[in-house]
């Protein structure tokens, strides 16, 4: 038995905006019967680009109905541009959360919306078809998998299955999923590394290291340390208290303070007494 939130229950018991719109301005369709769920979304959009009416029909479970139902409520009254910003996480959040294995229902809602808006703008949705199919059982493409990993910051193959169903059938594509996941994770991590710190960020970071890792040790011996300035790779500090007159203060600086800072900032730095 799944644990559904009260909001999910309310929406599958009494779904809002069920049905079709005869003269819809946009229709979005996703899913397939083999996969066990399909969703059709109909939109009326006025001249100002505001969604005035939204209706849906679905072949799906309780959480699929709830996701579609709440999505129609979310988008009515919004402009097309605003609606484009809605993510699958927004849908799941508004439902008070979905069981992990049911996250793909929120993804289906988001995709139907995307498909409908592309249909409204007259954009062909070929992009999806061009991309290589990774999971044959559920027809999930590489592009979709990458997009879902990025947007939801996924870290596990099981999570990809929960969000997209990929890998949930015969499981043969799990190696491919892991490969794609690793690529995306390394891209994510490199992205973080490549951006150099600004001077302010660097000062804050150095100060934090000194405060948390260095000063507590010095204080044990009645000493202390203060950051004075940073110029290029040179970090200027002042030793205080007992350290000030300590004969081995230079040793402390080079062997202890510099080592700790190198550990966190890389080998290319030098600690200098101001």
């Amino acid at each position: 038995m799944w644990e559904y939130t009260e909001t999910v229950k309310e929406h599958y018991k009494n779904p809002k905006n069920v049905g079709s719109i005869e003269d819809a301005d946009a229709i979005g369709e996703v899913g397939s019967i083999a996969c066990g769920d399909a969703l059709k979304l109909y939109l009326k959009i006025d001249n100002n680009g505001i969604i005035t009416e939204a209706k849906f029909q679905t072949f799906g479970c309780g959480s699929a109905v709830a996701s579609a139902s709440i999505l129609t409520e979310m988008i009515i009254g919004k402009t097309v541009r605003e609606a484009e910003q809605i993510t699958n996480q927004d849908i799941a959040d508004l439902l008070g959360g979905l069981p992990e294995q049911k996250m793909h229902c929120s993804v289906m809602g988001r995709e139907a919306l995307e498909d409908a808006l592309a249909n409204f703008k007259g954009k062909p949705t070929e992009k999806k078809i061009k991309s290589k199919i990774i999971c044959g059982c559920f027809g999930v493409t590489e592009d979709k998998i990458k997009e879902i990993i990025r947007k939801n910051t996924l870290n596990l193959v099981d999570e990809i299955t929960n969000y997209t169903k990929a890998g949930g059938g015969c499981g043969k594509c799990k190696d491919d999923l892991l490969k794609i996941l690793n690529e995306e994770i390394s891209k994510r991590n490199n992205g973080a590394k490549e951006k150099p710190l600004t001077k302010t960020q660097l000062i804050l970071k150095v100060n934090k290291i000194l405060e948390n890792k260095v000063a507590p040790e010095l204080r044990k011996d009645g000493g202390d340390i203060e950051l004075i300035d940073i110029e290029d790779n040179k970090i200027f500090v002042n030793l205080q208290g007992a350290c000030k007159n300590c004969p081995s203060s230079n040793l402390t600086l080079k062997n202890f303070v510099e080592d700790i800072l190198k550990e966190h900032l890389g080998e290319n730095i030098e600690v200098v007494e101001a």
Binding site: I33, A34, G36, L39, F59, C61, G62
Partner: protein, 403 residues
């Protein structure tokens, strides 16, 4: 949870009958001795286990109660039958595509890790096996044939007695194991007059508690014990006996035998009435599996173009308990392997609902379900994206009715 519970999920588990409950209580209270002990306080427990063994033997028609070995559940019994093979040069197993996971997954394991070749027999749209295909699949190196007596999802009965005879004629050495978890207590079983070597039953499917099962092993059948340990069950299944569970299984078996007539008459009539009523009032309903060759308590109905979990959730709100072959109800994403093997279209597999009755089901409960379910289906039909298909289906059904 709804106040009133209409429990129509008896193939999943059953209510413990009062007779079984009462019979087991002394062994959870004052009669707590270990039957292996040398003192008479423990030793006397053995005689209750002996009675239970006779009661189980009575339900399945075993010639000698010693052929009954108590286990912890149906799954353990299957594992014992399949993993206990003693002839290492025979590496072929025959089973079917529609077995319960406790057989199917053990077969896959033996195939993957122990060098066995496995033949998985298919079924037709009625859920039946092809006797010729079965006969042809038997080889000189076939070690084991594992075929269920009744299917848990559809209730369809396999002619295992005939199949055992066919098998022994072609290869007298082959072992024939039958998963009878869903057959025991629903149809007569007289194992002594068959050529079946092993047969499993589960307590909680026949109104005994969970945590106890049994396997019948015909005298002279060589299998290695699956649970190694002490000398319990004459060395064939180690581990201190689950005395209370075993006593309850014995009593439940006796009761099941007593209620067998009720099952094949009153319960069957209720099942048939439920089925007929649903088919008449929901145009997109269809029966999965043979309507004639079935256990009397089970019906598997597909509501085409709507999804099963959604139906279950709506029924559950009204206290009606059933189950579904839809992918959405399980942890994995694949729908029922049984219905898929029968070639049932996805639109119907995902909308399949299994109702399974018991001796505790009443006519009033069936009335209530017939009053509520068609309304739920009608409401859910309106959510389906297959409006055109539904309309066509409705027109076909209406024209058939008029004729």
């Amino acid at each position: 949870m709804a106040e009133k519970i209409i429990y129509l999920d008896n193939n999943a588990t059953t209510r413990v009958c009062n007779e079984a409950l009462e019979s087991m209580l002394p062994f959870l209270r004052e009669k707590y001795g270990n039957p292996s002990s040398m003192h008479s306080f423990g030793g006397e427990i053995g005689k209750y286990i002996k009675t239970a063994r006779e009661q189980v033997a009575g339900l399945i028609g075993a010639a000698d109660p010693q052929e009954v070995i108590f286990t912890s559940c149906g799954t353990e019994s299957s594992n014992m039958a399949m993993r206990g093979l003693t002839e290492p040069h025979k590496k072929h197993i025959i089973t079917t595509k529609v077995e319960h996971p406790c057989v199917l997954n053990v077969a896959k394991h033996l195939e993957k890790n122990h060098g066995y070749k496995v033949t998985y027999l298919g079924v037709n749209s009625e859920g039946a096996l092809d006797p010729d295909e079965f006969k042809d699949s038997i080889r000189p190196d076939t070690a084991l044939i594992s075929i269920m007596w009744a299917n848990n999802e559809t209730g369809v009965i396999f002619p295992v007695e005939q199949f055992a005879a066919i098998a022994k004629e072609k290869n007298p050495e082959v072992l024939f194991f039958v998963d009878a978890v869903q057959a025991a207590g629903k149809i007569p079983i007289d194992i002594k007059n068959t050529q079946i070597d092993m047969l499993s039953i589960s307590g909680h499917k026949i109104h005994a508690p969970k945590g106890v099962g049994a396997i019948y092993v015909k005298k002279g059948t060589l299998i290695t014990p699956f649970m190694q340990g002490g000398h319990q069950e004459r060395g064939r299944r180690g581990g201190t006996e689950n005395v209370a569970g075993i006593v309850a299984l014995g009593m439940a078996s006796e009761q099941a035998l007593k209620y067998l007539d009720d099952e094949t008459t009153r319960v069957k009539q209720m099942r048939d009435r439920l089925e007929k009523g649903i088919l008449e009032n929901s145009f997109n309903a269809r029966i999965n599996g043979s309507r004639f060759n079935r256990v009397p308590n089970t019906t598997n109905i597909s509501f085409e173009y709507i999804e099963g979990e959604l139906i279950l959730l709506h029924m559950s709100d009204l206290g009606i308990c059933a189950s579904s072959g839809s992918a959405c109800t399980s942890g994995n994403l694949e729908p029922s392997h049984v219905l898929r093997a029968m070639g049932i279209p996805f639109t119907a597999v995902h909308g399949s609902i299994r109702f399974s009755l018991s001796r505790y089901t009443t006519d009033e409960e069936i009335d209530y379900v017939l009053e509520k379910v068609p309304a739920i289906i009608e409401k859910l039909n309106s959510i389906s994206p297959f409006q055109t298909e539904l309309k066509e289906l409705k027109e076909i059904k209406t024209s058939v009715k008029k004729q």
